[in-house]
Amino acid sequence: MAFSLKYLDALAVVSISFATALLCEAISWLLIYRTSSYKSLRQSIDRASKKLDMLKSPSNKSASNSKKLDRVETSLKESTRDLSLAKFKSGGVVAGVLIVVFGLLNSMFEGKVVAKLPFEPIPFVRKMSHRGLHGTDWTDCSMVFLYFLCSISIRTNLQKYLGFAPPRAAAGAGLFPMPDQKMN
């Protein structure tokens, strides 16, 4: 099985994405995660969400509890809003880095097939996976699609591993990560 490493560019895209993810998390740590205000905000959110879970559990349903429930919910909403505001600063810098790196990758791999897809993508995916490529071989993969896959899987897992992922109670992470999650 002699392989000619025809698609070594794919490795280049993945390693650049990995380095970018590390850089973005380092910036976020420098600007936000190590500050005491962020840490205290994070603790109050965790405390509030645990209290909320306890109050919401079926075992203690009473009038006085529902008042307490409302109070805890509002305090959770406030801390969550403060958390997003606090992240806004580092989010701007990180967004700048992502745009610069994307521009760099675009200039390096414009019109180049960086990888081969082991499946025929649906038209919706083709717009991204075949962007800037010639011909109609839909299994050719452009840098944009690979970079998209890298940035979602690598950054999300890196944030989770480093403990920078937003708290569940705040993000209410649905099937897709919240847009603002992409910013930090």
């Binding site: 099985m1 392989f3 000619s4 490493l5 025809k6 698609y7 070594l8 794919a10 490795l11 993945v14 879970d53 559990s57 990888a115 081969k116 897809l117 082991p118 499946f119 025929e120 993508p121 649906i122 993969c141 690979l146 998209f148 896959l149 890298c150 979602i152 899987s153 999300t156 897992n157 989770k160 569940r168 649905g174 099937l175 897709f176 990560p177």
Partner: protein, 128 residues
């Protein structure tokens, strides 16, 4: 599909267990009666899902398996395994953790993109 939950009573006893018992993380993970708090359970299932995504991506790419049908198979394997882990293996009452939907979508999109990335990467590098 309401199964009698045997998890409630033992979970209470598990808490009174003296902390001295040095049950390692793995033993705790495999012990169906150990008590789980929401974040710990969802984090564990999150990392299980990422491991499945990584493993399937590398395997599909190495063989290679070609065709969109294998994406469907991956989603089935990944979701089935997570379901088996929390409902059969850990005896978790899903109501306490936000229902099947909340548990099953934990880390799904990250593992799906990780799977695609590994599949494409290995397929491109090894077979061309």
């Amino acid at each position: 599909m309401k199964k009698p939950r045997s998890n409630k009573a033992p979970a209470k006893q598990a808490q009174q267990q003296p902390n001295g018992t040095s049950d390692s993380k793995l033993a705790k993970f495999l012990d169906p009666n150990s008590s789980w708090d929401k974040d710990k359970l969802l984090d564990t299932l999150y990392w299980i899902r990422q491991a499945i995504g990584l493993f399937c991506g590398l395997l599909w790419g190495a063989i290679p398996l070609v065709g969109a049908i294998w994406i469907v198979l991956f989603v089935a394997i990944s979701t089935g395994t997570v379901y088996w882990v929390y409902s059969q293996r850990l005896n978790i009452d899903e109501e306490e953790f936000g229902g099947h939907g909340a548990i099953l979508q934990e880390g799904f999109f990250a593992s799906f993109t990780l799977f695609l990335l590994c599949w494409i990467l290995v397929y491109s590098l090894v077979h061309f």
